[in-house]
């Protein structure tokens, strides 16, 4: 059975060149359009089967969120139509509609009713929601005293407990801490097992590949690829790579401009980019499981520095912190102003094939942070011949064939 049937849908937004209108303009500029049409979604058709998880991927502004909002009924398609079967709960923003002055309990009722639940239905769900959010002690405090994490947990707890038949999720999982993200994903799996249809908008390719039954890649409002998530993601990543190649960044894994952080004393350190190299110093586009790899960190300094300690964090594509490695303790000698490189060398890359992220920070000798986290760089690891299972090759040695004696 089809849960969501998107039939040839297009959505036109008006980009106002000079928003908003006033009555004066109504008369003076009468008849002159002061907006441009912008097609956020163009001729999209898709059918999502009941009980499946569908991933929507694409760069920012590709129309996936607009499509999700139309599925939720928030926006109406300009042409075409969307037919949905079942109660829809949309997680476009966690805790939307929470009133800061009201208590957690009051906000649960409020939010549940926004999602279409009656009071008695909410009564029955209340305990489960509070327990899932882990807020038993704070449920009668105004939510303005909540930490952002508590706020998000409560929002998620309400949204997933309203017994939706269709759940639309827009990036929201990316906001919580790691434990919360894991719990969200676990819960989504539970819902999926219960037969809930889920549509996920995400940039975490690992989630798409790991959880989704089908996926769609959208670009500029149009469907570029759809179907098997593994294939869609790889086509999407290829598309991204091709674009980057056009921008002459072919062999670098730089995807964003890193942020600058100014260290105390008018000195600053900036991680400029990360480059993958093979042992001969040649650029490579990806790492290979079990093969040698050098990750070159290019950084520059303004002012004099005691040699800083570079800290490299390895994250899963979903943002889970996997491991950290440091440069050896900084030596006390001063480095002058200039541009520097450091190599992080793997004789044998111990990672399973997949998508990872790398983040670099820097501290001084006294472990004061002098460069906050860089943007996340993508690290793709591919298999060649012998592959690694799981995430890591464990640095363990087996000694086997030991015969057990009667009493050693």
């Amino acid at each position: 059975m089809i849960a969501i049937d998107v039939q040839d849908v297009s959505k036109k937004f008006r980009l106002y060149t000079d928003k908003p209108g006033s009555v004066k303009e109504l008369f003076t500029k009468f008849g002159r359009p002061k907006y441009e049409d912008f097609w956020a979604v163009r001729d999209v058709s898709m059918q999502i089967k009941e009980g499946t998880v569908h991933g929507l991927v694409g760069h920012n502004g590709c129309g996936k969120s607009s499509l999700l909002r139309m599925m939720a009924g928030i926006h109406t398609p300009t042409t075409g139509q969307i037919v949905t079967a079942g109660r829809i709960s949309a997680l476009l923003e966690l805790g939307a509609g929470f009133h800061p002055e009201l208590t957690g309990r009051e906000n649960i009722y409020l939010n549940a009713s926004i999602l279409g639940l009656s009071r008695t239905q909410t009564d029955e769900l209340l305990d489960r929601i509070v327990e899932f959010a882990g807020l038993q002690a704070f449920i009668d405090s105004p939510v303005k005293h909540y930490s952002s994490g508590m706020f998000v947990r409560l929002g998620f707890a309400v949204a997933v407990h309203v017994d939706p038949q269709i759940l639309l999720v827009d990036e929201v999982i990316a906001v919580g801490d790691e434990e919360f993200q894991r719990r969200c994903l676990d819960h989504l799996r539970t819902l999926k097992a219960e037969g809930v249809t889920i549509v996920l908008v995400t940039h975490a390719m690992g989630i798409v590949q790991g959880m989704c039954d089908t996926a769609t890649w959208m670009d500029h409002g149009r469907v570029m690829a759809e179907g098997d998530p593994l294939r869609v993601v790889s086509e999407y990543l290829h598309g991204v790579n091709d674009k980057e190649a056009e921008r002459d960044l072919a062999n670098e894994i730089v995807s964003f401009h890193p942020t600058t952080a100014v260290a105390p004393g008018h000195t600053s350190l900036r991680v400029e980019k990360l480059v993958l190299q093979d042992p001969d110093g040649e650029h490579v586009p990806f790492g290979i499981s079990g093969a040698p790899l050098d990750i070159r960190v290019d950084w520059s300094t303004v002012g004099e520095f005691a040699e800083p300690r570079l800290v490299m964090h390895l994250l899963s594509s979903a943002g889970l912190h996997l491991a950290t490695t440091y440069t050896p303790d900084g030596s006390p000698e001063l480095l002058g102003e200039g541009r520097w490189s450091a190599l992080c060398r793997f004789d044998s890359l111990p990672l399973a094939p997949g998508a990872y992220k790398i983040q670099v920070t820097a501290t001084d000798v006294r472990t004061n942070v002098i460069f906050h986290k860089s943007d996340e760089y993508d690290l793709t690891v591919r298999a060649e011949g012998h592959s690694i299972e799981g995430v890591f090759a464990l640095p363990a040695q087996w000694i086997h064939g030991l015969r057990r004696g009667e009493s050693a």
Binding site: P20, G21, E106, S113
Partner: protein
């Protein structure tokens, strides 16, 4: 009519939005709920002083044959005005304030305006109850009280219709909010609330007749008939007020539904 049944399906949301409004309104204030009585009382005191004491406005004698309190006469009109004004301005502001929420979750966009109307209605019920108790204590009660539910219903329908229609235009042109504020001021003084209609009739009977055409003036008149004069409104008024109120509601709702079809993106 399907929009009315849709609103009914979301009654739980309307209930909760109302609760949110009521619960959050007086949080962190010492007097709390008393403010909802102090505010109108203060307005009443000011008007009573300015017009009753300084300008010596003379109300007609009440239906019990002896009460001549200007403050009470004023109150019999003022609560009607407060209800009408609160509903219309509240509808405009609540839709505007719901913009962020309407962009995240789907619900009928008329819900905030309806929830606001309920909060204002509660206030109006308290005010009219106080009025009733005082008038009853003065021995000024009549069978006309049976018209009170009809009056409340008519003001609700009329104000909500006007408020919904204006609120949706306000989304496209924010000037509406400011224009309506000014219009409300004009309308307040153009309605015989702080002065009796007879004052106008003395000057010009035509002007008095024109004023009488305003539904607000009719609502005020009904309230005065019920609580003060102990008269029955004339036949024209008995028919005209409900008809105009229902029409205003239906037209307002129709405008709102047509214009609010894809309103989230405009907010």
């Amino acid at each position: 009519m399907s929009s009315v049944s849709q609103l009914w399906a979301y009654r739980s949301l309307i209930y909760n939005l109302t609760q949110r409004e009521l619960k959050s309104r007086y949080k962190k204030s010492i007097l709390g709920w008393l403010w909802s009585l102090i505010n109108p009382a203060a307005v009443l005191a000011i008007y009573s002083f300015v017009f009753g004491v300084v300008f010596r406005a003379e109300p007609p004698v009440a239906g019990n044959g002896h009460t001549k309190s200007y403050a009470l006469y004023l109150f019999a009109g003022l609560w009607v005005w407060n209800y009408f004004n609160g509903t219309v301005m509240g509808a405009i502001n609540s839709l505007q304030a719901s913009g962020p929420l309407l962009n995240k979750v789907f619900f009928p966009p008329a819900c905030p305006a309806v929830a606001n109307t309920v909060t204002v209605l509660l206030q109006a019920m308290i005010e009219s109850a106080i009025l009733f108790v005082v008038m009853a204590a003065l021995g000024c009660v009549g069978w006309q009280l049976v018209l009170f539910p009809a009056l409340i219903l008519c003001i609700t329908l009329f104000s909500l219709g006007v408020g919904l229609a204006l609120s949706v235009y306000n989304v496209f042109y924010r000037d509406v909010n400011y224009l309506v504020s000014i219009g409300m001021n004009v309308l307040f003084y153009a309605t015989p609330i702080i002065y009796p209609l007879s004052l106008v009739a003395e000057q010009s009977s035509t002007a008095a007749r024109i004023i009488q055409l305003s539904p607000i003036a009719q609502f005020v008149r009904w309230s005065r008939d019920i609580f003060w004069n102990l008269n029955w409104p004339n036949t024209w008024s008995m028919v005209g007020v409900p008809v105009v109120s229902i029409l205003a509601f239906l037209i307002g709702l129709a405008i709102f539904n047509r214009k609010s079809r894809d309103i989230a993106q405009e907010l």
